[in-house]
Amino acid sequence: MRAATKTATKKTEKLDLYRKYSKEYAASRNPAFVKIGSATYLFISGKGAPGGEAFSEAIGALYGVAFTVKMTRKFAGKQDYAVSKLEGLWPDFKCGEPIPDKDQWTWQMLIRTPDFVKQNEIKQAVAVLQKRGKGAGAERVHLESIEEGLCVQALHVGPYEDEVATLAIMKSFAEKEGMKLRGVHHEIYLSDPRRVEPAKLKTILRHPVERIGN
């Protein structure tokens, strides 16, 4: 208890990754190229409709691990940081092909995490959550670093269903500059879909690109 009081009042600079890498999160309605460096995330992958049971369990597991790791470090007096916003990696639908049933969608949900967080801390968090009966899906959460490199990025305002239109604008922007999309697209959720009306939802859309001819 005494240790906790100490950590809570100790004035250490809290790390906010979103602020530290603010250039990587700059986005407006007009697409632009952004260089994204290597970043570490907590990952969970799954299959099913967004908002469905499997999806909700995955989000709960991801946040459960994220907060347990953070608070365990904090209690031990280690460097404090803010748990970042929720992000997701989604496969692109092929142009011209029918959009698959939502139940068949595969996704990876992620939360950016400081590099100093290590794999054994994740394991420990999962174990402690399981002991409390709060570990549903937690064992699927893992730590991974990715480097997206050059990306085209834009701010999408509106329902998630309408992202296709913004992604199409991003694609043609990239092509005009001699680039083509590669890999899967990345979504960074700035708004909370539980209460914000769909027309006002803000999402950063990011898509890695490469030079045509590569």
Partner: protein
């Protein structure tokens, strides 16, 4: 059985408005005023403020000043005598309040002898010996999004904060650190705040606020972290969007505007707040807070 109406709410508030005017020299404790209007002491001050547009304290202060203005205009009592009667301990404090209310110092006011009451939302002014028959009530709450839900009782671990409302962050920090390292912050955990006092009437140093986290039966109280049960039953719920320090505006609209038009009454248990997002990674204008107001069962409403 009969549904409670806006007119009932207004009638009960009018009773308080008149009572205050007739007893301006008395201490006017809130519990007594709440009882007079048949409101729960947990909710009375918010209903009053939401309906009248001023807190009880502001209304009492203004009526005392308006009475003082009348005496300045007509009588021959000295300014300091009038100041003391209005509940002020010094000439300076009285002058400051008086100026804020009437735009002129007491002595200047006496010279020009022109009583100009400031505009107030309720339209109610000091009229000695008269029963107040009517007051204007704002009509903001009509379009408020409110959901009514039946809740199960919730077991919560909590830490009590006593002090200014804007300093509850440190209490939260401590509670979440201890619960988090023990694995109590799983996916479906809810974070609740129960404010036992109103920041507008209780001195900041004495405000009691419980930072609460839902826990399972296996949680044992540890140190100063205790356990309580948040009452189940029917609740009206609305969402506040924006910084926490604007919550009182939403409370006013919810309990002072929506509630009187809802046909419902509140139960004798405090409101609570549920924090939907993490203030560390959310911009203040995007923060979402659900306000839960406990409803009395519909058939328990009696004619008052």
């Amino acid at each position: 059985m009969r549904t409670v109406t806006l007119q009932d709410y207004k009638r009960r508030i009018l009773r308080v408005l008149t009572h205050i005017q007739q007893h301006l020299d008395e201490p006017l404790p809130l519990d007594e005023l709440a009882a007079l209007a048949c409101f729960s002491r947990y909710h009375f001050h918010r209903i009053f403020k939401g309906m009248v547009g001023e807190s009880v304290k502001e209304y009492v202060r203004r009526l005392r000043l308006e009475r003082a203005a009348g005496r300045l205009k007509l009588g021959s009592a000295s300014v300091i005598e009038i100041a003391l009667d209005a509940g002020y301990e010094s000439h300076e404090a009285f002058t400051r309040s008086f100026k804020a209310c009437f735009g002129a110092s007491p002595s200047h006011f006496r010279r020009i002898r022109r009583a100009q009451f400031a505009l107030v939302p309720s339209g109610v002014h000091y009229r000695p010996g008269k029963t107040i028959q009517h007051f204007r009530s704002l009509r903001r709450g009509e379009n408020m999004k409110v959901e009514i839900k039946q809740l199960q009782p919730m077991r919560v671990a909590f830490l009590r904060h006593v002090g200014p409302y804007n300093e509850v962050g440190a209490t939260w920090d401590r509670l979440l650190t201890i619960l988090g390292k023990d694995g109590h912050l799983g996916g479906d955990t809810m974070m609740l705040g129960i404010c036992h006092d109103d920041p507008e009437i209780t001195p900041p140093a004495k405000i009691r606020y419980d930072a609460c986290v839902t826990v399972g039966d296996d949680f044992k109280p540890t140190g100063d972290i205790q356990v309580q049960t948040v009452a189940g039953g029917e609740y009206a719920i609305t969402t506040h969007t924006g910084p926490y320090n604007n919550l009182s505006r939403t409370y006013s609209e919810f309990l002072g505007q929506w509630l009187p038009r809802s046909g419902r009454e509140l139960r004798e248990t405090p409101c609570f707040e549920v924090y939907l997002n993490d203030p560390q990674s959310t911009a203040p204008e995007d923060l979402l807070t659900d306000i839960y107001a406990p409803l009395a069962p519909q058939n328990s409403v009696t004619r008052r």
